[in-house]
């Protein structure tokens, strides 16, 4: 053993065992046992004590400055950048100091602790199981009928508690997902509440429209595109009259995950959903041509009334947006 001060320390690892009497703290003391550890074990890890202590001290001092700086910055109403920087510097240096203290200036070890396997001896387990079963027998088995009727009551309780709790959370879907507010004769209306006429937008541009009674509606949102100056746009067989005066309108709710299909590429006449990059070809009825979207966007049949307003011939002929279990059919 060397004469270094750390080397002669004894690591007190055992002191008084708990007394088996109820008065564990009545100063029985006495047989305190101290195991002397080897000098190497008690030695700290730092090879240069002075330097290690200096580093720790400097770090603590920096943390003092950091925390004080935080206080000062707060006092002066400095920006969050300064607040966070000072707090960060204070906490990081404090952390480094404390960690270094623990790592370099405390007994190095390593130390050993015994461990018992978790597996319990069968006899021990049987004692518990035996107690449980024998007492249970007295309590339950001889009163089988009581146990059963209690179980029945508890089950009913569980169901009636759970059911209203869940049911109160919201209405059932019913037909709410199948229909939008668009119906025969609905005016195409802008977000500002203006009715859209055939002169409203230029060729190659788009406009988000709503029915008058649902402006801003999440399911009703519809994208109106002007593909050409005049003439009807026929996107598909059976939709000969749906696109008057070069206008077509499609549901803006993506059939994949419901994002607004808001990006229109004029050059390719395609609509792009910015969430998962599904591409819809407007010319062929917004058929998905790329990405995960499985179905075309629903098309709103349009007509132009006597005063030049764009209106819906009817509502959408299918549920708009992403699929769900009770949604029938492909289109």
């Amino acid at each position: 053993m060397t004469n270094q001060d750390t080397a002669t320390t004894k690591f007190k690892v055992r002191d008084q065992m708990p007394d088996d009497s109820l008065h564990s703290g009545d100063g029985a003391g006495g047989d305190e046992e101290v195991i002397p550890l080897s000098a190497a074990q008690m030695q700290v890890a730092a090879s240069n004590l002075l330097r290690a202590e200096l580093v720790v001290a400097v770090c603590f001092f920096l943390s003092l400055l950091g925390f004080a700086g935080f206080g000062a910055a707060y006092w002066q109403g400095a920006s969050d950048i300064w607040l966070g920087t000072f707090l960060g510097i204070g906490a990081v240096t404090f952390g480094v100091a404390l960690t270094a203290w623990g790592k370099y200036l405390m007994p190095r070890g390593p130390f050993e602790e015994p461990r018992k396997l978790m597996a319990v001896k069968p006899e021990q387990r049987e004692l518990v199981i035996g107690d449980f079963a024998s007492r249970g027998k007295v309590a339950i088995e001889r009163r089988g009928f009581l146990f059963k009727i209690m179980g029945a009551a508890a089950t009913v309780f569980g169901i009636v508690v759970a059911f209203p709790l869940i049911r109160s959370l919201g209405p059932v879907p019913d037909k709410q997902l199948d229909k939008t507010k668009w119906k025969k004769g609905s005016y195409l209306t802008t977000l500002e509440g203006k009715r859209v006429t055939v002169k409203s937008i230029d060729v190659g541009s788009i406009l988000t429209v709503f029915p008058e009674d649902d402006i801003g509606g999440a399911l009703s949102q519809t994208v109106l595109i002007r593909l050409q100056e005049t003439g009807d746009i026929v996107t598909r067989k059976g939709r000969e009259t749906w696109g008057p005066h070069g206008y077509v309108a499609f549901s803006k709710v993506c059939t994949h995950a419901g994002c607004p299909v808001g990006l229109y590429e004029e050059l390719t006449q395609q609509l792009l959903c910015p969430c998962h990059q599904s591409l819809f070809d407007v010319r062929i009825g917004c058929e998905p041509v790329f990405g995960p979207a499985p179905r075309p966007l629903a098309q709103l049949p349009l007509y132009v009334d006597g005063s030049g307003n764009l209106r819906a011939q009817a509502g959408y002929d299918e549920p708009v947006g992403p699929g769900f279990w009770y949604r029938g059919g492909t289109t």
């Binding site: 690892v13 065992m17 708990p18 088996d20 564990s24 550890l37 190497a40 074990q41 090879s47 969050d80 950048i81 966070g84 920087t85 707090l87 960060g88 204070g90 906490a91 990081v92 404090f94 404390l98 960690t99 270094a100 007994p107 070890g109 390593p110 130390f111 050993e112 602790e113 015994p114 461990r115 396997l117 978790m118 597996a119 021990q124 049911r167 919201g170 209405p171 879907p173 997902l177 977000l191 801003g216 509606g217 999440a218 399911l219 995950a257 419901g258 808001g262 910015p274 969430c275 990059q277 790329f290 990405g291 995960p292 979207a293 499985p294 992403p322 699929g323 769900f324 279990w325 029938g328």
Partner: protein
């Protein structure tokens, strides 16, 4: 004074019985054991900063005209949730810092859980007797991801609102019950006005309580079962080698808490995160380019993107596209995670208790499987950036998406054999992974070459000391005066029961 106070409490709660065992609890010294601590401490930071945020945040979808301190938004119709988030950011001193620290800590929280989990997986720490704790930990990961998503959704900005819309679509995609679940969760059809207050109470109360409870169970089991440890000098199945709780571990771990707090504070101060004032308020009909969730949702977002445009149709019913990547894939993922300890037990027939950890190379099949599966999710994670990558690399979106569709199949198939081979090679190479001494190459007179290891620097090699037992608390000693019932079995005296 303190001693007298302790004595007073001790006489009433008998802390000293077993208290010494706690002081002597040994913590193995290995860097990889700090990963779980990062998760623990970032959770502490989340609680602290989160409480601050609740004092200012108003969880309401009620529409107001913004009139706060952020000029560009004045006069805009926004929800109270959005307005109050902007106000706590700009009008509350330190508010922006707290918000950014909270967001950074959330990202670090989930990240450290994942890396911690990988460590547990690749070293086989989940094996008997720790299967239950593996499942508790996996549940904590799910809760952390969910709570992260909920918190991210609360400010009601344009990006997070889009995320909520996708969440609704994924929920309604579940067969039979999906639409009902979605309506019950949202209090009606999308968007409604209930979702923000509901997400709020889930985010600040219910999920944190669950996390806190499971975290306590996680740590309780850890203390009860004691740490695993790597093979090393003196390490056996029936001991733990390392530093004692008091004072070494307490110093180090408290230091670590401050270190993580400090790093989070620096990130919060210097690295902008989630600038919702730039995104603008959420409107159901608006969307912005490059919509991305927080990183831990990336694998789900990527899966939604690479999924081919398939759906299943029955007469009158359907299983929508989003169900497969949005519900089925994560469901299968976590089912596999939960079952892995048992699958492995079945495959290897190894039912023994393990407290010594594996080196990943020594279990090439497990390591290769883990690496391949992780590679799959990593590719999915990358796929959540298809649009950004296409834009940045000036490639077509089509090319990037198809690349990811192919990569998520090919990469795991390549990673598996390569990892397996690396493990085998490392096993066969003596001294692989150990620090090597440089060779000195000497040319002989005949022109031959000979390599001789150079002399060691003093202190260059990490020398481990023999571990020394510091305590021998066992049942026998704790039960002074107890009579053995049979071999090694002691009946516990009444007063200890």
């Amino acid at each position: 004074m303190i001693e007298r106070l302790y004595a007073w409490i001790d006489d009433r709660l008998a802390l000293s019985r077993g208290g010494r065992t706690i002081l002597n609890k040994i913590f193995p010294d290995h860097w990889s054991f700090l990963l779980g601590e990062i998760a623990l401490y970032s959770f502490v930071i989340l609680l602290a900063t989160g409480v601050f945020l609740t004092l200012f945040f108003v969880p309401s979808a009620h529409e107001v005209v913004y009139s706060g301190s952020y000029a560009p938004l004045r006069g805009t119709k926004v929800s109270e949730a959005y307005s109050s988030t902007i106000d706590l950011t700009f009008a509350v001193r330190g508010g922006l810092l707290m918000r950014q620290m909270h967001h950074w800590a959330a990202n670090i929280f989930v990240g450290s859980i994942v890396v911690h989990m990988l460590r547990i997986f690749f070293t086989g720490a989940f094996r008997r007797p720790r299967e239950v704790n593996w499942m508790v930990g996996s549940t904590l990961l799910i809760l952390a991801i969910f709570n992260g998503f909920l918190g991210y959704s609360l400010p009601d900005d344009l990006v997070s609102g889009t995320g909520i819309r996708i969440a609704f679509s994924i929920t309604e995609s579940i067969p039979f019950v999906g639409t009902y679940l979605a309506f019950f969760l949202f209090g009606g059809n999308y968007p409604g006005t209930s979702i923000i207050p509901r997400f709020y109470i889930l985010h600040v109360l219910i999920l944190p309580l669950l996390i806190l409870g499971l975290l306590s169970a996680h740590l309780g089991m850890l203390v009860h079962q004691k740490h695993t440890q790597f093979r090393g000098k003196g390490a056996r199945e029936d001991n733990v080698i390392g530093s004692p709780l008091w004072p070494v571990f307490v110093a180090k771990t408290t230091g670590f808490l401050f270190l993580i707090t400090g790093v989070t504070a620096l990130l919060g101060a210097l690295v902008q995160i989630n600038p919702i004032w730039q995104y603008g308020p959420y409107k159901t009909y608006l969307v912005s380019y490059a919509v991305q969730p927080d990183w831990y949702m990336g694998w789900l977002d990527g899966a939604l993107r690479v999924m081919p445009s398939w759906e299943i149709h029955f007469p009158g019913h359907m299983i929508p596209n989003a169900f497969f990547p949005g519900v089925l894939m994560p469901g299968v993922t976590f089912a596999l995670i939960y079952l892995w300890p048992f699958l492995e037990e079945k495959l290897t027939g190894d039912r023994a208790e393990h407290h010594l950890l594996d080196r990943p190379r020594d279990r090439p099949l497990r390591t290769a499987t883990g690496a391949a599966v992780f590679a799959f999710y990593f590719v999915l994670f990358g796929a959540s950036a298809t649009d950004v990558l296409a834009n940045y690399l000036s490639l077509s979106l089509n090319f990037v998406l198809w690349s990811f569709r192919i990569l998520c199949i090919v990469v795991p198939l390549v990673v598996f054999p390569v990892t397996y081979k690396i493990c085998k090679e490392l096993q066969a190479t003596p001294g692989a992974g150990k620090r090597k001494r440089p060779n000195i190459v000497i040319r002989s007179e005949e022109g031959g070459y000979e390599a001789v290891p150079a002399a060691q620097y003093p202190g260059y090699v990490h020398d481990e000391l023999e571990p020394v037992p510091i305590d021998e608390v066992d049942v026998k000693a704790a039960l002074v005066g107890a009579e053995p019932v049979s071999d090694g079995i002691y009946r516990i005296p009444r007063e200890y029961r």
